[in-house]
């Protein structure tokens, strides 16, 4: 029987990797994927808890998280395309109109 903490540890590691990736990657799409990675790490935690506490809610949350992720991906990628059209580049550092 795998102890709960193993799952949690795994998800922690995954989450951290994703988080680091978010601001280490330069390509917008890669950043995006790192975000998805973080989401999934959280999902793992939720499911682990839900199955260890015999409580369905966690899985429902995961379900909703997935839908939200799908929506997010749709909009996000549309944004990516728009950005690419405007400034022939996907480098996050090039999107710096805010800089002083």
């Amino acid at each position: 029987m795998v102890p709960l903490s193993w799952y949690l540890a795994l998800s922690a590691v995954l989450f951290t990797i994703g988080a680091v990736g978010v601001f280490v990657k330069r390509n917008v799409i890669s950043i995006f994927m790192c975000i998805e990675l973080m989401l999934n790490a959280v999902n793992l935690t939720l499911i682990a808890f839900s199955s260890y506490y015999r409580e369905i809610s966690g899985q429902l949350f995961v379900f909703i998280v997935m839908t939200v992720a799908a929506a997010e991906a749709g909009v996000g990628l549309a944004l990516v395309i728009a950005v690419f059209r405007n400034r022939q580049s996907l480098d996050a550092d090039d999107a710096n109109l805010l800089k002083l």
Binding site: L4, V20, M33, I47, S51, D91
Partner: protein, 167 residues
């Protein structure tokens, strides 16, 4: 047995995650991510969440990632632009941060009580559907609205400007 299974999957998924971050070509990261999702799906199944395992594959691997890859191919991004990264220091910043965060989170999780509830495991489609349409009906409907908005939004965002000039 189970533990070995878990360990294998864990190692695989961590590797995949790392490669997501490390790969220079978005497509490679994407495929590593798909691998990760597969591993996670397997883990879900091992947690008696077969339904979510399947959904995980269908939604993430089958739809979202296809979308990613479609965009990548559409924009035909072979590799990260070869220009010098002006912000290498972010790596320096990121890795220690990451380690700290990992340690912290692990510590927190180690505080989680060891649970053992002897009830039959759940996660079959029926119970999920039940929960979804009784307790969590409201969030469910809200997500549907959210998706609708997302559809509209992405259509608006992704359309070309010249189309706008046309109509």
């Amino acid at each position: 047995m189970e533990q070995a299974f878990f360990l294998v999957l864990a190692v695989l998924s961590v590797g995949a995650a790392l490669s997501v971050v490390i790969q220079r070509s978005p497509l490679y990261s994407a495929f590593s991510l798909i691998g990760l999702f597969a591993c996670l799906a397997a883990l879900y199944v091992s947690l008696q969440a077969q339904f979510l395992g399947a959904i995980q594959i269908i939604v993430y691997a089958g739809a979202i990632m296809v979308l990613f890859i479609f965009v990548i191919m559409l924009l035909n991004i072979r590799k990260d632009a070869q220009v010098l990264d002006k912000h290498r220091y972010l790596w320096v910043l990121g890795v220690p941060f990451g380690l700290v965060l990992a340690i912290e989170v692990l510590y927190t999780l180690s505080k989680v009580a060891k649970v053992s509830i002897d009830k039959p495991a759940i996660g079959d489609s029926q119970s999920i559907g039940y929960g979804l349409y009784t307790t969590y009906l409201m969030p469910f409907e809200l997500t549907s609205i959210l998706i609708l908005l997302a559809i509209v939004g992405s259509v608006i965002l992704a359309r070309r400007d010249d189309e706008k000039e046309e109509n």
